[in-house]
């Protein structure tokens, strides 16, 4: 925990010179597909990956909260990342998975499930290779994106779930009792 916290700064800090690439430890990222795009997140935040299974919907919550699932006795909310990132909705396929992650914020750690199209790969990346997201970005995505990195000519978007799934974001209600 502490080690991670102290690492946090250099990881996010923008770096432009090639020399920085060797600075800092190598980090691992899990990537996944969403609407033809490859995204990634810090693998240390991933607890497990599960098949999609129907969840219990929660009344009067924001639509991207699909509901809650039973994770070995813990009641865990499940977020549809397509809906969260305003990507067109799509029927779930056998490849659809729930990535169970740890989200930090409000002085505590919560467990959440994130529904994505499919998991892809695990990458070893030097934090220096991650560039900050461009200032102008559609749909306010810069709040959700930790940075961009190119791997084999492809662009990988590294997401920041701590900022994306804050308590405030979850507290949005839609059409309560109307």
């Amino acid at each position: 925990m502490n080690a991670l916290a102290s690492n946090a700064k250099p990881r996010v800090a923008p770096t432009h010179s090639a020399g920085d690439e060797t600075v800092g430890p190598i980090e691992q990222f899990l990537s996944f597909w969403l609407d033809g795009q490859e995204y990634a997140l810090d693998i240390l935040r991933v607890q497990e990956i599960r098949e999609w299974a129907p969840v219990t919907p929660i009344p009067n919550t924001v639509s991207y909260v699909r509901g809650v699932m039973n994770l070995r006795g813990a009641v865990v909310p499940v977020i549809d990342l397509r809906l969260r990132l305003c990507v067109p909705e799509q029927a779930y396929t056998p490849q659809t998975v729930v990535i169970v992650i740890h989200v930090r914020g409000d002085d505590r750690r919560r467990i959440m499930g994130v529904v994505v199209d499919a998991v892809a790969e695990v990458y070893d990346l030097a934090p220096g290779r991650i560039t900050p997201p461009p200032e102008v970005s559609a749909q306010g995505l810069e709040n959700h994106v930790r940075g961009l990195v190119s791997v084999d000519e492809r662009m990988l978007t590294i997401l920041d779930f701590d900022r994306m799934l804050t308590a405030e974001a979850m507290a949005v209600t839609e059409g309560a009792a109307s």
């Binding site: 909260v65 809650v68 039973n70 959440m112 009792a177």
Partner: protein, 771 residues
């Protein structure tokens, strides 16, 4: 050394001991003269133990306070002061002050300095044999009186506790600002142990080294000095209390003692924490430099002021806590030729059994105790769980063996019985284990009841009523969380009963009742619930007056006729009070509704039984635990929801004729003689109901003192559910109190009755606005 990990148990224990002290005092107050001496002794030990503990942790103000208290109690113990009713009252006040001081230390707040001062002044007056005058403010007492506190009592006041501990109180500066910080320096207590010479250390060398750090004032602690004839010249019987007036870091002081730390008792604490040796004390014992007390060493009969019990000089730091816990030993008693800790630890277990056996040099690197709450569990409960786990393991291996057999030999129908037996054994083990694990969180209701003897004592005095408190069923257990939350409502009900329920003596006489009113607290288990009864034999609820008041406030229509129960229920309406005059104790009309709401929030219920002229009894019904709930499963559309069984009044099939709209807004249902509002769960939750449902059901639920019909599609079974918070990983959702996991592994949401009511009302209002 880090003592913080022992802080939480220390506070816990102090509060327990104060509770006990309070109980003893109340017994004395009740005129119970039997065992007076034992009770005073027991009270004395409480004060003494707290003093010792507070000293260990460096709570010098508490140490000072309890020290004075102890002096008074000691005088009472030996009969030189009487335990009068007045004294009991004062001592009860000191209990409050001590609670306040302890709570202040625990929470890092400030204790009420005025109260401390006031009670100290009274204690001093009592010690001096003066009549107790209630000082209006901090009185300017002549300081000279203090020195003669208890002449001829060797173990008493003046010894380790310097006289000037009193002076800040007497002189103008408030207790708070007694000179704690300055001058910088350290107060060191050094007891080298009797074999220090045999181990090759010279205490004088150490003292000289200490003197190099700065000016020192030293006092000899000769309380272990045996009678002259039994002195062994090779042994050391002395200790020293040293005030080092030098601004040096603690490490530097510790270094001086580095070589003898293991054999000697050394405590080092900041100077000024109420323990500095008074410089004006007897010159024959006090020396300005280490060289001088060499001459004091052989003194066989030390001057009285220097005589102290071994416990009185040991101070925080590395001191053996046994010594701290030990009761004061009359110093005049010939102490065996052993170092201080030995007799102290021998007597401590016998006389102060409640004191934690804190290891003298506990692991220093232990993390600080946090306030996250702990629970003391009886060893029998733990053993029961261990036994059950053992059984569970046996069952598991039995089933494992069975499955191997099936794998090897194939399954035959004849084996089914064995499988069934194994599974039913597993089920029994699981259930028992569950029950026993729940019992860990169970505490006796006496924890909540214990405060009432004092409360009743104080209030009866305040109200001028004679009240006898009868408590029964105090060993009935309930969940710690429930217990913590029921305390305040109980206090409220008791206050209410004393203030409004029980009549003054003349009124009781006129009614032909005994002068003394009775307040009964009773608790018992009844089918998964705990029932708590608070009853008195007072005047009962005056129905006519309640009804008149309710009509006046517009709560009840002028012609409306109400049943007795409904009238009784009225006192729970917000802002309702029939008390003719608002008293300190109750009568503002806030409260009864809050009480009821709190109890509902715990998933419980509150009833009143009252007979005019005979008395009123409040009956609280609470679930034994908040983590398991009896529930009813209901279906709306595709979803299964869970209703607390406790809130369900009845369920019925909807007769469409009885369902109507009031002014195009709220839906109501005619339930016998009443109309009750209807909430359609699918509407407030924005979920589809069954498209075709011939037989929708209405579940009548009760909460917040009102009944509502909840329209649902179907009822499933009733079952116990384990409550899981939604907030752990998500957040609170209006209308839901939590979730649970059903037998098929899916999550089901638990409905929150209060929340549903509010949502229903909002929905109506919005409809009204739209119409």
């Amino acid at each position: 050394m880090d003592l913080t990990e022992f802080l939480a148990p220390f506070f816990e224990e102090c509060f327990e001991m104060l509770q006990q002290m309070e109980g003893d005092l109340l017994a004395l107050d009740g005129g119970d003269t039997s065992g007076m001496a034992e009770r005073i002794g027991s009270i004395f030990r409480v004060a003494h133990s707290i003093k010792g503990g507070a000293g260990t942790f460096g709570f010098s103000r508490i140490t000072e306070y309890t020290h004075k208290l102890e002096a008074l109690l000691d005088a009472m113990r030996d009969g030189s002061r009487q335990m009068t009713p007045e004294a009991v009252r004062v001592l009860l006040e000191t209990v409050d002050v001590l609670r306040d001081m302890l709570a202040a230390e625990r929470d890092g707040t400030t204790a009420n300095a005025d109260e401390i001062e006031r009670t100290l002044t009274i204690i001093r007056q009592m010690l001096n044999g003066e009549s107790i005058a209630e000082p209006v403010s901090a009185p300017a007492q002549p300081a000279a009186v203090l020195a003669e506190d208890l002449p001829g009592e060797p173990e008493a006041v003046e010894a380790a506790m310097p006289d000037d501990a009193f002076e800040p109180v007497v002189a103008a500066p408030p207790f708070e600002e007694s000179p704690l910080e300055d001058p910088p320096g350290w107060h060191v207590v050094f007891r080298p142990g009797d074999d220090i010479a045999g181990q090759g250390s010279d205490p004088l060398r150490i003292l000289r080294e200490l003197a190099q750090l700065g000016p020192v004032q030293t006092r000899v602690l000769d309380d272990d000095l045996p009678p002259v004839h039994s002195i062994n010249p090779r042994r050391n019987y002395l200790g020293w209390a040293i005030a080092l007036r030098a601004d040096v870091p603690r490490d530097q002081v510790e270094d001086v003692f580095a070589w003898v730390m293991d054999q000697a008792e050394v405590s080092i604490e900041p100077l000024g924490a109420g323990v500095e040796p008074a410089p004006e004390a007897d010159a024959s014992v006090w020396g300005e430099s280490p060289a001088e007390f060499v001459s004091a060493e052989p003194t066989p009969v030390p001057t009285p002021p220097a005589r102290v019990g071994p416990d009185e000089v040991v101070r925080p730091g590395d001191v053996s806590p046994q010594a701290v816990a030990a009761p004061a030993q009359p110093a005049a008693k010939p102490t065996p030729a052993a170092p201080a800790p030995a007799p102290a630890s021998a007597s401590a277990p016998a006389q102060a059994p409640t004191v934690h056996a804190v290891p003298a040099r506990a692991a220093a690197a232990a993390p600080g105790g946090d306030a996250g709450g702990s629970i003391r569990v009886g060893i029998d409960k733990v053993d029961a769980i261990i036994d059950l786990v053992g059984e569970l393991v046996i069952t598991q291996s039995m089933l494992g063996q069975f499955s191997e057999e099936v794998e090897r030999d194939g399954f035959e129908v004849s084996m089914l019985q064995r499988l069934k037996d194994g599974l039913s054994q597993l089920e029994r083990n699981t259930r028992e284990l569950q029950e026993n694990v729940m019992r860990i969180r169970m505490l006796p209701i006496s924890v909540a009841f214990n405060r009432f003897p004092r409360l009743v004592h104080d209030l009866s005095r305040q109200l001028g009523k004679q009240i006898e408190l009868k408590i029964s069923g105090e060993n009935t257990e309930l969940d710690k969380t429930v217990l913590e939350k029921i305390g305040d409502p109980l206090v409220h009900l008791v206050r209410n009963a004393l203030d409004h329920g029980l009549e003054p003596v003349d009124e009781r006489r006129a009614a032909g009742k005994p002068d003394t009113g009775t307040l009964r607290l009773n608790a018992y288990h009844k089918g998964g619930n705990i029932i708590i009864e608070i009853g008195e034999d007072g005047r009962g609820i005056n129905k006519a007056r309640v009804l008149a008041k309710a009509r006046e406030k517009g709560l009840v229509g002028a012609d409306e006729q109400l049943s007795d129960d409904r009238i009784h229920e009225l006192i729970f309406a917000p802002g309702f009070s029939t008390a003719e005059q608002v008293t300190d104790i109750s009568g503002r009309g806030v409260g009864m509704d809050v009480v009821k709401r709190n109890i509902h929030a715990l998933g419980g219920g509150l009833e009143i039984r009252s007979a005019e002229g005979k008395g009123t009894t409040f009956v609280i019904r609470l679930p034994l635990t908040l983590s398991i709930m009896d529930s009813q499963l209901v279906v709306v559309g595709e979803q299964t929801y869970i209703l607390p069984l406790m809130s369900i009044v009845e369920s019925l099939q909807i007769a469409p004729d009885f369902l109507s709209r009031v002014a195009g807004r709220a839906e109501v249902y005619k339930l016998r003689e009443d109309y009750i509002p209807v909430i359609r769960l699918n509407r407030i939750f924005n979920i589809p109901a069954r498209a075709v449902n011939e037989r929708p059901l209405l579940v009548v639920i009760e909460g917040d003192g009102q009944k509502v019909g909840l329209m649902i599609d179907d009822l499933l079974g009733q079952q116990q559910v384990v409550i899981k918070s939604l907030e752990t990983n998500f957040r609170r959702i209006e209308g839901l109190s939590g979730s649970t996991i059903l037998g098929d592994g899916t999550v089901a949401l638990i409905l929150d009755i209060g929340g549903l009511f509010q949502m229903g009302r909002r929905l109506e209002n919005r409809k009204g606005a739209a119409a």
